[in-house]
Symmetry: C2
Subunit: 98 residues, 2 copies
């Protein structure tokens, strides 16, 4: 039951934009903040939430902090959704049988 943190984290649109911005390469906090209409502290707070959900990882490089996606959180979410998806399809098909 670790996907609950990930689901809650991705429910926020600003955090989803952060994740999407990290899709292809790591970015520094300031760089992320520039594109987001929110202040730098807000971005740091969002990153902390994403970190706890294991959706991103941060490492210090000089005096900057580079964040990148952590596959772990996404993997758990995917697994959960795939299970639901499979069951939903089965139940849906069954609902036509009778």
């Amino acid at each position: 039951m670790a996907y609950d943190l990930a689901m809650a984290a991705l429910a926020d649109p600003t955090r989803r934009r952060l994740v999407e911005r990290l899709r292809h390469r790591p970015r520094a906090v300031g760089e992320l903040a520039q594109h987001l209409r929110v202040t730098q502290p807000a971005v740091s707070q969002h990153l902390a939430v994403l970190r706890r959900a294991r959706l991103v990882r941060g490492r210090a490089v000089g005096r900057r902090r580079l964040y990148q996606l952590d596959p772990a959180g996404l993997a758990m979410l995917r697994q959960y959704l795939d299970r639901m998806w499979g069951d939903a399809l089965e139940a849906y098909a069954r609902s036509f049988e009778e």
Copy 2:
């Protein structure tokens, strides 16, 4: 961009329990409420949220209302997560190359 409603809907643990309870077969509102420590109105409100997110569908049967999973919402979510997952893996692999 329809997965945002689904993400927000599934972020709530009570709503997730509702979805999980509907995994295998349709259920009536009262039946769902009995297993959930919340009142019937709360369940109805949650179901409304899930309906707007296209995660469930409800149909009237007599004076009861049977809800079942709607694959549509889950499909959108899955698609979104799969894209993120793929990109995350690529970026992760790339981060080892250099």
